[in-house]
């Protein structure tokens, strides 16, 4: 396979070429599609699953509640200051335990992204992770954002979109991030009994009722798209059908069994048949919203919305309409079979045309530089978090459920570009000795993206270090071509 085609394949569809990785023979399209096989689970071994985290979080909360009760009880609470210290200690312990786990998640994620030979698959994981954005800014969801990527997205990225959608919408990360876990049907048993019970003494601090947040984002962001032809009544109907979709509580966890972190609470579920997008869904408990999600996953508007997003992510900010059409048709013909859609994308002429180019996000800039120079990013995850924060793309911290932006205009401002130049210098200084040959490294990383001007500049560099900095800071390295 010609080196420049291979470099292009790796830049456009992957996370950038690793040294020597482009020597593989054959057609670059076949090479990419061959990467679409499951990753060995050992890459993420040792990280706790969400059910386990949920159990520990509940235990932690119980402990805190007991502390608070003790502080209120004048007999057992010897001194107020003492109980406050105890609380602070618990809080610190929470941060230490769970904060460390988040760093371990990030270390594993970045180490894998830098080392993997299946970087096209990894790009797809990151694409879907951003499509189904969850922010650790929301405290209730903080412990489940990274696990959601591992547990809901990775296993389904090579399957059907319907299964991916269902896995995400029933994961604690999404259920908590978009408030569905506390959404209660107004005609549900819980609302009727709960409102009678709660009013007298606990006051109006908790309002029992419907929360539309998840339903709205499912329609607007996750499936149909903002112009997908739904209205406010559809949002409400989906929200009502989703009532009862929550995370396992103490009782469910204690009951044993498979300990899925998802729990359906029929007491909170709004009874009755619902109508979504003109179609009737009879009452069926958890199955009602399941059926809705399944239909949404194969809706033509969803196919179009996702075809556009995929083409925009891999081909160009304004993707060719003909390509979007073909992707959408493949989606519908294959009932949301994702690998079939990926194959059309990779085999399309549009993706390989000279005019197709994408500006790297900060995440992809750092990952491709680390891959090209053989730098381990997993070693100091806390430093990495700080760095990505300053570059404007901290992991699992999108500013909204829409996820991080995906066009050049969002990432190519002067402030961002200036920081890339600074970072290019810093990364060049960390390159291992084996990769301190700017011209050879540039050829391996850029293929046809290495133009004569950059080549000449690299030849004239005063030191290998300056050459590498020049390479990473160059416009050619900022673009995927």
């Amino acid at each position: 396979m010609a080196l420049d085609r291979a470099a292009s394949a790796s830049n456009r569809f992957g996370l950038g070429a690793r040294p020597g990785a482009l020597a593989a023979p054959g057609d670059p399209r076949d090479w990419l599609l061959a990467q679409l096989r499951p990753v060995s689970p050992s890459a993420f071994a040792g990280l706790p699953d969400s059910a386990e985290t949920l159990r520990r979080e509940l235990a932690f909360r119980r402990e805190r509640l007991a502390e608070r009760r003790a502080a209120r009880d004048p007999v057992t609470a010897s001194a107020d200051a003492g109980s406050e210290d105890a609380r602070n200690e618990i809080r610190t312990r929470f941060r230490q335990t769970f904060g460390r786990e988040l760093l371990a998640e990030l270390a594993a994620r970045y180490r894998h992204a830098v080392r993997t030979e299946q970087d096209f698959l990894e790009r797809l994981v990151q694409f879907w992770s951003n499509h189904f954005a969850v922010s650790i800014d929301k405290r209730q969801a903080a412990l489940y954002a990274a696990p959601m990527e591992r547990e809901a997205i990775r296993p389904h990225v090579l399957g059907r979109f319907g299964d991916l959608l269902l896995a995400v919408e029933s994961h604690p990360g999404m259920l908590r991030y978009l408030d569905n876990a506390r959404s209660i049907g107004e005609g549900s048993w819980l609302a009727r009994v709960g409102s009678r019970r709660m009013r007298p003494e606990s006051g109006p601090t908790r309002k029992l009722g419907l929360n539309e947040n998840l339903a709205r984002e499912i329609l607007e962001l996750h499936t149909l798209g903002v112009d997908g032809g739904y209205d406010q009544a559809d949002v409400l109907e989906l929200a009502r059908a989703l009532t009862g979709w929550g995370t396992a509580g103490r009782r469910e966890l204690r009951a044993g069994g498979p300990l899925a972190p998802f729990a359906f609470r029929s007491a909170a579920h709004e009874p009755g048949a619902r109508r979504l997008l003109g179609r009737r869904y009879p009452e069926g408990g958890v199955e009602q919203a399941r059926a809705m999600l399944s239909d949404l996953a194969r809706h033509p508007a969803t196919a179009r919305h996702l075809a556009f997003k995929l083409a925009r992510h891999f081909v160009a900010d304004q993707p060719p309409p003909a390509l979007v059409d073909r992707l959408a048709r493949t989606w519908l013909d294959g009932d949301g079979d994702l690998p079939a859609v990926y194959a059309v994308l990779v085999r399309s002429d549009e993706a390989w045309s000279a005019s197709a180019r994408k500006f790297k996000t900060p995440n992809d800039f750092v990952l491709s530089a680390a891959r090209g120079l053989g730098i381990d990013l997993g070693a100091r995850p806390e430093a990495l978090v700080g760095l990505f924060r300053r570059l404007g793309q901290p992991p699992f911290l999108p500013r909204s459920p829409a996820g991080f932006a995906d066009t050049a205009a969002d990432w190519s401002g002067a402030d961002a570009l200036g920081k890339r130049v600074q970072l290019a210098q810093a990364l060049a200084a960390r390159a291992p000795a084996a990769h301190r040959q700017p011209l050879a490294t540039a050829r391996a990383m850029l293929g046809r993206g290495l133009d004569t001007d950059l080549g000449a500049a690299l030849r004239r560099a005063e030191s290998p270090e300056q050459g590498l900095a020049l390479l990473l800071a160059s416009p050619s390295f900022q673009w995927r071509t």
Binding site: D179, A414, Q466, A469, A473, Q478
Partner: protein, 382 residues
Amino acid sequence: MRLSRRRFLIASGASATLALWPRTAAWGAPGGADPRLLVVLLRGGLDGLHVLPPLDDPDAARLRAALLPDAPLALDGSFGLHPALGFAHTLYQRGDLLPVVAVAPPYRERSHFDAQDCLENGTGTPGGSHTGWLNRCVGAMGGAEGLAIASVMPLSLRGPAPARTWSPPLPQAVDPRLLERLAPLYAADPELATAFEQVAAGSLDAMAGESRRARGRLPDLAGVAARFLAAAGGPRVGFVEDSGWDTHGSQARVLGRKLAELDAALEAFHDAARAVWPSTVVVVLTEFGRTVAINGTGGTDHGTGGLALLAGGPVAGGRIGGDWPGLGVRSLYEGRDLRPTGDLRGLLKGVLGRHLGVSEAALETQVFPDSRSVPRMEGLIG
């Protein structure tokens, strides 16, 4: 051309960088002034009752004894000002500070996340818009540009109108020779050429001046914002943010420290923007207030009615704005919070309309959609 940033900084200062900024068109500002706006967002839910204790409210002493600051600074007799806000007090005495009490965004639940979302998207519902009211305001001004002193564009300034971010650069000093060698490569890239020229010229950094070494604390960021807003061709709408205002425990200690920072930020901004202070309004916002009652850990929990501060030359200050509902049991919202009597969107409409000259139609349909029923708060400016 030699593109040594260091030399450029020394030789030219801010004025030579102006050519790099898009030409600012005039918008319909009253009096033909060149108005500026800085939005300061305090994330976490500031306790307005602590900042501005209602001294003559008979219920304050009963409900708030442990959290009434010692020796509050005198305001109009009915309210005092937290003693950490010495500079703000000076502004008040000069008529340049207007605290507005009992205001809140239309959101009535108690999630920080959703409340900030509403406050920033400018609607009554979380997820109500994926663009921010401040960005739509910039769009309505025409020819203006917004700048967030932040590494991630905040929702407030997200959207199609021109806006960018600036944050303190990474610690590595850039070798000027690297910039020099990159220059011809970027000059050949039509999409990146302008941004790179700004990098090479250090245009934003030049405006930021010494604050390039800012560490990200609020006073630093406010000072940087002032330099940008004061520059003749710079952005006219600025945004800075700070977190850590969620005070469930040890509130007196935490707010003593945080309010001193806010005060230092106002002073840093004022001093660096002195020349344009007469045409600048600073709006300090937070997503909601806190409970009136003190909790078991010397703090307060999430409440509703909050506080906004307006500062600047054009502000009709030296008095307390807003409609005080009182802390009597029957006056409280849901029996626990200060009842909001003013909608923050109404306050912002008052500032944007009177100060920036944004039209009523644009305010109702574009900046704060569906806010026709929210009356514009009058008398804040001028």
